[in-house]
């Protein structure tokens, strides 16, 4: 669970950076890639003291409302940004016109960000994000999330344009804390009431340096450290009997320290080589005796801390073949240690596949050999990026059904334990195409993604989405835009029968969107409206467990005032 990913609202985001394979290793040892969410900063602009936006929207499928407020105040040397988002949704209607009970939610997200210019080249930044969700329905479960509360805070210092060898420095300390609890008290028929609270706390810091270019080399160095502690438990209250208690996440402490080095080598005008290296030490330990005893039941001795040393290496080569055409090749070796849940989860319920999961403290690190080829073609009106990628993952971690273990969570289909299988192959391709025509009045955009996974016996891996393509055509004229979208997902018949996966039918969904902006002297008023799932298609994605149907036709409207 990555708190920042779940608890970030789009209004707080500046950018999202997706890195495949080992490309994102500066963020931490990874095998599958990383998602780097950059939060929106306060903006220092002495010409605009106060700026901001207010938005309000309504969505018909779940009779939901969304209200957004973002404000930026700037003085000469400092600025403060405040934003808030409130969402409330009722139960949505699916494409068959049926109301999906317990799909409601309510959520409030607040963030405060401050910036202070210490000097021309250095600044201090502080961020605080508060995200409270409550009464979040899980329609496919016999219970909902009572509350989910996240607090994320950070303080950073940036130094730029230094004359010496150390040209740039970025230092950050951060802390985040997440608490959540399941709630079944709103359900009409509960066989047994249960409490399932959990929490996770993280404290970390990093220092990042960019050194003065030396010859063809640009060196970047980063060192980071974090401490994480998690715990979760479950108490069940059978009628007329003693309560039943267990630790689903026995208290676990993890300490990770890493060192990252990047060397960008500009070989000549047409080519560039990048070397990345990360080493990481990770130590994790079960801190409570009951958790150790629970694992003794499963046959594991977990008294000693588990220490791991992880190596990540990546080499990439970029060749500018012509002003229009670029080739980018990269390859590397990446490792990741098992997650806390994979190691120490004890009958943790996974709603993705409706199974209880037990951890395996003896799991080996996953080790992946990654390769990627990118072709980029772009002119002023046209760009096309084609990517092919593949990984051979050794000691791939996967949940295997344990018929001899019995389920803890009411309604779960079975128990799975994490295991290393000898190897797995993951490969696929992606395309992203953008074309502007008719004096840039029209923009045609198409993306598709194909991913295939196989285990060491060439059987399909579970939880792999089928080929999906999204095409949109946007018409722009002055302050008006109209957009038609089509989303096609193919049938997924490459399913893991061992895992109990079933084939999922393909679907086609159409969306219409429009927007108009009224410009006034000091304000700008944007109105957007559209229809999602225009033909009220009853559909579910392959990764939606229980094939719970997605929302049917959704008519929405949103008004935004910028000042």
């Amino acid at each position: 669970m990555d708190p920042a990913t779940i608890y970030t609202e789009p209004v707080n985001l500046k950018s999202i950076e997706v890195r495949n394979g080992g490309e994102g290793m500066s963020m931490g040892a990874t095998v599958g890639g990383t998602l780097n969410l950059k939060l929106a900063d306060a903006v220092i602009d002495s010409n605009v003291r106060l700026s901001g936006s207010m938005a309000s929207g309504y969505y018909s499928a779940a009779a939901s409302v969304q209200n957004v407020l973002a404000m930026n105040y700037s003085a000469n040397r400092w600025a403060l940004r405040v934003s808030g988002v409130y969402r409330k949704a009722g139960d949505y209607m699916d494409g068959l016109g049926q109301r999906i009970a317990f799909s409601q939610y309510e959520k409030l997200n607040t963030s405060v960000s401050g910036k202070y210019l210490v000097s021309k080249n250095s600044l201090i930044k502080a961020d605080f994000l508060l995200d409270d969700g409550w009464n979040i329905g899980f329609p496919a479960l016999p219970m909902d999330v009572g509350y989910a509360k996240a607090r994320i805070a950070s303080l950073s210092y940036e130094l730029k344009g230094q004359p010496g060898i150390l040209q740039e420095m970025d230092a950050k300390v951060y802390a985040n804390s997440v608490r959540h609890a399941m709630d079944d008290t709103r359900r009409p028929t509960v066989t047994m009431h249960m409490d399932m609270p959990g929490e996770s706390h993280t404290l970390g810091a990093f220092f990042q340096f960019r050194l003065k270019p030396r010859g063809k080399h640009i060196l970047k160095l980063k060192t980071d450290f974090y401490y994480n502690s998690v715990k979760a438990d479950m108490t069940m209250y059978p009628q007329g009997a003693a309560p039943m208690y267990m630790k689903t996440w026995p208290e676990n402490h993890q300490v990770v320290a890493g060192l990252f080095l990047e060397d960008g080598i500009f070989l000549n005008e047409k080519s560039r080589l990048d070397l990345k290296l990360r080493v990481e030490i990770a130590s994790s330990k079960l801190a409570d005796q009951m958790g150790k005893n629970q694992f003794a039941v499963l046959g594991y001795e977990v008294h000693q801390p588990l220490n791991r040393f992880l190596k990540n290496v990546n080499v990439s080569y970029t060749r500018f073949l012509s002003p229009l055409f670029t080739v980018y090749v990269s390859g590397g070796l990446n490792e990741r240690s098992p997650t806390t849940s994979e190691r120490f989860g004890f009958y943790l319920f996974n709603r993705m596949d409706n199974h209880d999961y037990v951890g395996n403290p003896l799991l080996k690190n996953e080790q992946a050999w990654n390769g990627e080829l990118n072709l980029l073609f772009s002119t002023t009106d046209f760009s096309w990026k084609l990517t092919a990628f593949g990984s051979l993952v050794q000691h791939y971690i996967i949940g295997k059904t344990q018929p001899e273990l019995s389920v803890m969570t009411t309604g779960a289909a079975g128990v799975r334990a994490y295991e290393n299988i000898p190897s797995a192959k993951l490969f696929g391709a992606e395309s992203s195409f953008n074309y502007q025509f008719f004096h840039q009045h029209f923009i045609l955009n198409n993306t598709w993604k194909w991913l295939q996974g196989e285990d060491h016996r060439n059987n399909p891996l579970p939880l792999i989405a089928p080929i999906k393509t999204i095409t949109s055509l946007r018409f722009l004229h002055r302050r008006l835009f109209l957009q038609a979208e089509n989303e096609i997902s193919l049938r997924q018949n490459q399913v893991s029968l061992d895992f109990g996966e079933k084939e999922t039918r393909g679907y086609t969904v159409f969306n219409l969107r429009s927007g108009y902006s009224f410009a006034m002297s000091r304000y700008q008023l944007n109105f957007s409206a559209g229809i999602e799932n225009l033909f009220n298609k009853a559909y579910a994605e392959h990764l939606d467990w229980g094939s719970m149907l997605r929302p049917g036709r959704n008519i929405y409207g949103m008004l935004t005032l910028k000042f």
Binding site: M234, A242, M244, G299
Partner: protein, 273 residues
């Protein structure tokens, strides 16, 4: 001057003695035990005391006997001892007695002045009245030819949930099965022990060593069990030892299957922690 030296010398001796006495830890063998009953073995000039770790309830109870010379009050550490729990019932004037399974002291030599033994009480009873339990202790002191009997009345409360079960075999015999766990069961692996006795007659219970026992714990409220349990296997004298695993607190039922020569018997024991 001489006097002063003497005082210094004495002080040193006292200090040394005090230090020494601190080092010898006096261990009372009966520490943590409860005295259940006492009586006299008439003819052997012996006072017999019965001690236990807990109050006595139906099921298996670990017991300790302490013997004293009734004249000198000196502890007797060597004696041949036979025990038998006896229930005397008065049913509207009709007298009836029966015994219960028990485990004799393993040696005629006391362990730290106590003789450990055990009994499996099959029903609750009082120390006096209509249904009364007594612990019959036959003592033969060293060097004496005759043995003497002490009858120690005791109260046995009903264990809840029951720690002892009486089941009938296909051939009509009666089995007494008792199950006991550590005083404080915990989440994780727990040592567990079973005793199995067959009733031969009212006063005789013989240990049965040749059952194959299978154990499946479950939580009746949820219908789930626990993995990696170790079925109890015979150690000796009708005692079977195994390991039972609890994955969470709450109410558990330990289901037992006893099989021998193609005959299968089932029973269960409940516990809550």
């Amino acid at each position: 001057m001489k006097k002063r030296y003497t005082i210094v010398f004495l002080l040193t001796v006292f200090a040394a003695c005090k230090k020494d006495s601190n080092h010898t830890i006096s261990t009372d063998p009966k520490e943590g035990l409860i005295k259940i009953s006492e009586g006299y073995a008439l003819g052997a000039a012996t006072k017999v005391e019965l001690w236990s770790q807990t109050t006595i309830t139906t099921g298996h109870n670990k017991l300790f006997l302490a013997l004293y010379d009734s004249l000198s009050n000196q502890s007797i550490t060597k004696a041949g001892i036979q025990v038998l729990p006896v229930m005397d019932m008065d049913m509207n004037g009709m007298q009836m007695s029966h015994a219960a399974p028990c485990f004799q002291p393993e040696s005629n030599q006391a362990e730290n002045t106590l003789f450990p033994c055990a009994a499996v009480f099959t029903m609750p009873g009082a120390a006096a009245g209509q249904n009364k339990w007594s612990f019959k202790v036959t003592v033969k002191k060293e060097g004496q030819n005759n043995s003497a009997i002490a009858l120690l009345p005791l109260e046995v409360k009903a264990s809840l949930p029951a720690r002892v079960k009486m089941i009938s075999t296909a051939d009509g015999a009666k089995l007494v099965v008792s199950c006991f766990l550590p005083a404080n069961p915990k989440i994780g692996i727990n040592e567990m022990e079973l005793t199995i006795h067959r009733q031969q007659d009212k006063m005789t219970f013989l240990p049965v060593d040749d059952y194959v026992v299978s154990m499946t714990p479950e939580m009746p409220a949820m219908g789930h069990g626990s993995p990696n349990n170790i079925n109890p296997v015979i150690t000796k004298n009708g005692r079977y030892k195994g390991k039972v695993n609890f994955t969470m607190t709450g109410e558990w039922r330990i289901n037992l299957g006893l099989s021998k020569a193609g005959q299968n018997l089932n029973t269960f024991f409940d516990l809550t922690f």
